[in-house]
Subunit: 251 residues, 2 copies
């Protein structure tokens, strides 16, 4: 409340940020295992025990980085999806498919620019580290974003989210495949949470597209594509388009 107290508090907030930023630099340079409280303190010209005034443990600092990474990725994707509308539209709006493309590319660009931060959130979990519940909300920004696109694509459809009209000659035998029991329940829950009004098979296919997106990016960053789809730019764009067809998103 008082100005003087605010001065102390501002100093504290400032240092808290600086610690996190130095920590992020170390993770960016060498991965999560390279994060060392002593090294962070050294870099900041403090003694290592002083960090404990700001973060109660190494794991809490890691958690802060993880949350930031999810938020940073989510924000980048959201901006790209929103921006796609603006870019195209001098009056019109970008199609859902165009925004899907923009979002996917933004996720990949973010990941390629920060491979170790990407690994921090989508790589193998650090053994002994348990992701706390506060990471759940930031982690769900991408699914929420995708759900929003789906909801918008289906907002003018008739209700009754059970089945699509038969589409003769389509892949899979002419109808969108019926969902096996457990998946139908799960899709229903997902739909209720982030994509109301969207048919369940569309939700299921979007789940596929979602895992595909991150599966490709992980393969690219972790070196599995060397010898085949590397460099992956064209492959990525192609797959993004195939996923849009699969879901399907309106062209």
């Amino acid at each position: 409340m008082k100005a003087t107290q605010n001065a102390r508090e501002r100093a504290r907030a400032q240092l808290t940020r600086e610690i996190k930023e130095e920590a992020r630099r170390q993770v960016a340079a060498g991965g999560a295992q390279q994060l060392s409280l002593r090294a962070v303190a050294r870099e900041l010209g403090m003694v290592s025990s002083a960090l404990y005034r700001y973060y109660p443990s190494r794991d809490e600092l890691l958690t802060a980085l993880i949350i930031d990474a999810y938020d940073s990725l989510g924000a980048a994707a959201e901006a790209a999806v929103a921006g796609a509308g603006v870019a195209v539209a001098e009056g019109g709006t970008a199609s859902v498919r165009e925004r899907w493309r923009a979002g996917c590319r933004a996720v990949r660009d973010w990941a390629k620019a920060r491979p170790h931060e990407y690994a921090l959130i989508y790589g193998s979990p650090v053994p002994g580290y348990e992701a706390p519940p506060q990471t759940v909300a930031p982690a769900s920004r991408i699914p929420v974003l995708i759900g929003g696109l789906l909801a918008e694509a289906w907002k003018d459809q008739p209700a009754g989210n059970q089945a699509e009209p038969d589409r003769p000659g389509g892949r899979g035998g002419g109808v969108l495949a019926a969902l096996p029991g457990r998946l139908a329940e799960q899709a229903e829950i997902v739909a209720a949470a982030i994509a109301p009004g969207v048919p369940l098979p569309v939700i299921a296919n979007a789940l596929i597209a979602w895992t595909q997106l991150f599966g490709m990016i992980s393969f690219e960053l972790f070196g599995q594509l060397v010898g085949s789809a590397d460099p992956a730019d064209d492959f990525f764009d192609y797959a993004v388009e195939q996923m849009a067809d699969l879901i399907p998103l309106p062209a």
Copy 2:
């Protein structure tokens, strides 16, 4: 050549195996970072420096584990694909699609039984560790296996691997999409190496299916599906089927 020398050599081979097995146990229990030469030696009742008679460094031991993991996974998938033929056939042969299913399930089962070994080969790379060239061949057993399935599915097709006949009403506008330049080259190289005679768009879609397979498994093992497609059994089977349609594999 002599029997006595063979005795010494047999002892050496035996211990080499035991070291690797104890190391694998440690990785299975706590991930690659938990692998400690000193702990391995302790468990085997030796002094840590003695291990250097068998593996010149920790990294070489890790490499041996990585190669074994790729080989173990490859063998499991190969056996499942071959076994699917045997299982169905008391005279007939399982369809390519059935073998694709069997292979995918085998990969997932293998991974779920050994999450840390899976992470060793498909998780984020250990910083500072560079995968040596000897890992390439074992790592390619899965792609080779998939390529073989494709080649078999297309073995009776007319030559000319450029385009599929127009399939009216199919997804994506009625023709298999043309491949962007770089991807076409890459698909050609892949086809030449592991799937001769297979149309390039099929190769590209198989690359999607391949990244999808491991993307889903990674998401499942690394906890990203919690709250949506978890447990993932039905989702997995559904996606495997969708990928078979996408490639497309004959039903």
